[in-house]
């Protein structure tokens, strides 16, 4: 089946087998390997991307279900400045500043879940962040600094991240 989607602002069109999961489509057909496959059972959140603005687990969506959608992956957050340099998204910067990652495997999903969280709750409490990230597991157990990073980003951007 022909599947079209806008991924990080670029139009993509591929012939896709119906059983292809979105995460495999993104990684293998479109070549964006920033989105990780973690548990592959919709528990860990490593594969979190945005589909039409909502955070979703791309291991539990068929690519055909996302046909016609606007998809954002971790590669789509940073922007390019006038001088050609890469400008990280405020959430990415906050994760760096607060050391919100250890091994880094959960980080793409964590950052995507966190930006979606701030879009829905621009001024979250620490408890809001902890419950808002309940769908993302960090096996390094680095949650403290992850929560700090999201708090920092929310404060710096006034929730506009």
């Amino acid at each position: 089946m022909l599947v079209q989607m806008s991924v990080n602002g670029r139009h993509h069109e591929h012939e896709v087998e119906p059983r292809t999961l979105l995460v495999h489509h993104l990684r293998e057909a479109i070549g964006l390997t920033g989105t990780n496959v973690g548990c592959d059972t919709s528990s860990c959140g490593a594969c979190t991307v945005h589909v039409d603005g909502d955070s979703v687990k791309s291991c539990t969506i068929l690519a055909v279900q996302a046909d016609g959608s606007v998809v954002t992956t971790i590669e789509g957050l940073a922007t390019v400045a006038a001088d050609g340099s890469t400008v990280m998204h405020p959430m990415q910067r906050a994760f760096m500043q607060c050391h919100g990652l250890q091994c880094g495997y959960c980080t793409p999903g964590m950052v995507m879940a966190a930006t979606s969280l701030l879009a829905e709750h621009p001024h979250p409490t620490e408890a809001d962040i902890r419950s808002g990230l309940e769908g993302n597991l960090c096996r390094c157990t680095g949650y403290h600094n992850i929560v700090k990073a999201v708090m920092t980003c929310a404060a710096e951007t006034g929730g506009a991240a």
């Binding site: 592959d40 919709s42 955070s55 969506i61």
Partner: protein, 275 residues
Amino acid sequence: MIPCTFDYVRAGSAAEAISLVGQHGDEAKLLAGGHSLLPLMKLRLAQPSVLVDVGRLTELRYIRESGDHVAIGALTRHTDLEHSPVLTQHAPLLALAAAHVGDPQVRHRGTIGGSLAHADPASDLPAATLALGATYVAQGPHGTREIPASEFFQGYLTTVLAADEMLIEIRVPTMQGAGFSFQKFTRRAQDWGIVGVAAWVRGTQSGVALFNMASTPVLATDVSEALAGGASAADAAQLAATQAEPPNDLSASPEYRTHLAKVLTQRALLEAGAR
């Protein structure tokens, strides 16, 4: 993990979806948000040969006040229930229960109709709608029928829906200011409840439903009758498991589940009474 091969068809209307599943019988499954079905297909516990995608039927995504009840389209997502001002005003127990489903990513995809039709006894929304005395509306090839929540669940993952019927609407009676509570005991944040309780109390009337205490959600009418007869929350809660057949699994023994059901029901009744 990748599902077995299947044919994928996108339905343009509920009628078309019903006709398509009718053609393929037991081989076909309706696909809404996919958050119950796809995990089963990935584990190859389900191997439908045809998926009929109803996920784009946005006409079945709504929450409307409708006299003595709130009408909810079957394709309304958990996140829509959780954040609905109409539900918060008229049936806040359902909004609260929806906020307990899975995690934000799951709630962005999963739908109320999908959750009810899947009929996992450990799920949140079957119990919440059962406690509220909801009516489900199913559409089939010959029209629609209304099914009380109390008659819908037949067994583990089994409902009275025929293979060519689909849920189109859920009607939840307005709570009219009733106090309410949703108690869910989990080992980890996003897990299924090991045991859970959805309850509302208004004067001598109440509704209490348990989840993961049998092969279906359980309406604890013994508890409600005791409350109506003047029993305290603590005494009524002792009857929480009288109508249950708690399963035995890695998470808990039947004895422990029975204990949890009593404790959680007492907490639920006390909180509902105070809210």
